[in-house]
């Protein structure tokens, strides 16, 4: 355990906000959660990304397979993104999905969220 010898650093830029409430509401208005279609979901993800991801680039210009970490997504940005997505799509990411791979691209996020939405409806 890391107590004595371990300065407790957050490890990356803290550009993303932990509070993503407003973003979630805006994204919902754009049709993300309500529509349930793939396009709607991707639009919702882009909206949360723009608001919470702290990216160095415009989220609207990213292809769905683009590497979000290369686009400037940090660990803390990822936390904001996760919370924003949970609010936007009314889901909760289980611990096994709380890793970098889940959030590495818009497509990866879409697949994860779809799995959670479908799982919740079953």
């Amino acid at each position: 355990m890391p107590q004595d010898a371990s300065p407790p650093y957050a490890n990356q830029s803290f550009q993303g906000s932990l509070s993503a409430g407003a973003a979630g509401l805006q994204a919902s208005a754009a049709g993300g959660a309500a529509g349930g279609t793939d396009d709607g979901m991707v639009a919702g993800i882009r909206s949360v990304l723009a608001e919470c991801g702290g990216l160095a680039v415009d989220a609207g210009t990213l292809a769905i397979d683009d590497d979000l970490y290369s686009a400037g997504l940090t660990s803390h940005g990822c936390v904001g993104l996760m919370l924003g997505l949970e609010e936007e799509f009314d889901v909760e990411f289980p611990e096994k999905l709380l890793n970098r791979r889940t959030f590495e691209s818009i497509a990866a996020i879409r697949d994860a969220v779809r799995g959670l939405v479908d799982g919740g409806a079953a």
Partner: protein, 308 residues
């Protein structure tokens, strides 16, 4: 060894340390006085760290174990570790409030209502005062900066494990500069750490680690930290071989503190930072565990390394 056994082993080692007089109990788990023998080991180890790192040209800074509250707030520590933070409060009421305080104290009730936050917060890690200090100086020189700090640190995690104290000392070297400078520093200390600790004849291992971030966001941060191998720990078994204790840590913060404090390298880029931390009490406890409580009886080679 299950959790019950681990806890029992921790309690047993603490009791041995207290009985031998090395640790002086205060009635609070994780808060101890130290004997002269214990302090001698800490001082000798501190000198050993200086022997390994003292030729690198580090600027020495010694801060009290407390931090400007504004720096603490700006550090975003509360986002990641709200559960460990220790803020210092003091009485802020008038005479009437004072009488109420005394009455409540006498009646054994909660008397803390009129305590208000001061401008001072307990230092959670020795390097926290360094970043805003360096930031105030403006652009880094071309060779970056190397800082040497040593401070008591506070973390609110009461435990019977003598290796998990609430107030403990941390020596650190902190490198601030370009990504290349910082990564080179961490690699250097990963090697040095192994060699330095190996000479003390204790079983050790170096492994990827994560900080104890709070909550589900913390799980995300911990996983991310491990996946990127941003933190390594040098582990020595103290009360458990299955769960050895982190005695040194090697941390690469990427540009987190550079962004946070607006620290820039000579070429204008955001500074990267890394540090190596030495858990002084943990190292001492590991040495007492493996070589016994009587330092005069420690192996000659170990005594030579520490006492010359």
């Amino acid at each position: 060894m299950n959790m019950v056994d681990i806890t029992a082993a921790q309690a047993a080692y603490r009791d041995e340390l207290v009985e031998s007089g090395l640790l002086i109990p205060t009635g609070v788990d994780g808060l101890y006085g130290r004997s002269g023998v214990f302090e001698d080991v800490v001082e000798r180890f501190d000198a050993l760290v200086t022997r390994w790192g003292g030729q690198d040209g580090a600027e020495v800074m010694r801060f009290p174990p407390a931090l400007n509250r504004r720096y603490f707030e700006e550090s975003e520590y509360l986002k990641s570790f709200p559960h460990l933070a220790g803020t210092i409060h003091s009485f802020g009421g008038d005479e009437k409030a004072h009488r109420t305080l005394l009455r409540r104290l006498e009646e054994g009730q909660d008397w803390t209502e009129d305590q208000v936050a001061t401008d001072v917060v307990m230092t959670p890690a020795a390097c926290y005062p360094v970043y805003p200090t360096i930031a105030r100086r403006g652009l880094l020189p071309g060779e970056g900066k190397l800082i040497d700090v040593f401070s008591y640190c506070f973390r609110h995690e009461p435990s019977i494990d003598p290796a998990r104290m609430q107030l403990f000392r941390m020596r650190e070297y902190i490198r601030i500069g370009t990504p290349d400078q910082v990564v080179e520093f961490r690699e250097l200390w990963l090697e040095r750490g192994r060699e330095m600790m190996g000479a003390l004849d204790v079983p050790l291992d170096v492994d990827v680690a994560n900080d104890p971030f709070f909550g589900r966001a913390g799980t995300m941060l911990s996983n991310s930290q491990r996946e990127q191998k941003l933190k390594f720990e040098l582990l020595i078994p103290i009360t458990s071989t299955e769960k050895p204790t982190a005695c040194l840590s090697f941390n690469y913060h990427q540009d987190h503190f550079g962004h946070l404090w607006d620290i820039h390298t000579a070429d204008g880029g955001v500074a990267h930072t890394a540090c190596v931390g030495f858990g002084m009490e943990r190292v001492a406890l590991a040495l007492f565990r493996h070589h016994g409580f009587d330092t005069a009886q420690w192996p000659g080679a170990v005594r030579k390394v520490l006492w010359g």
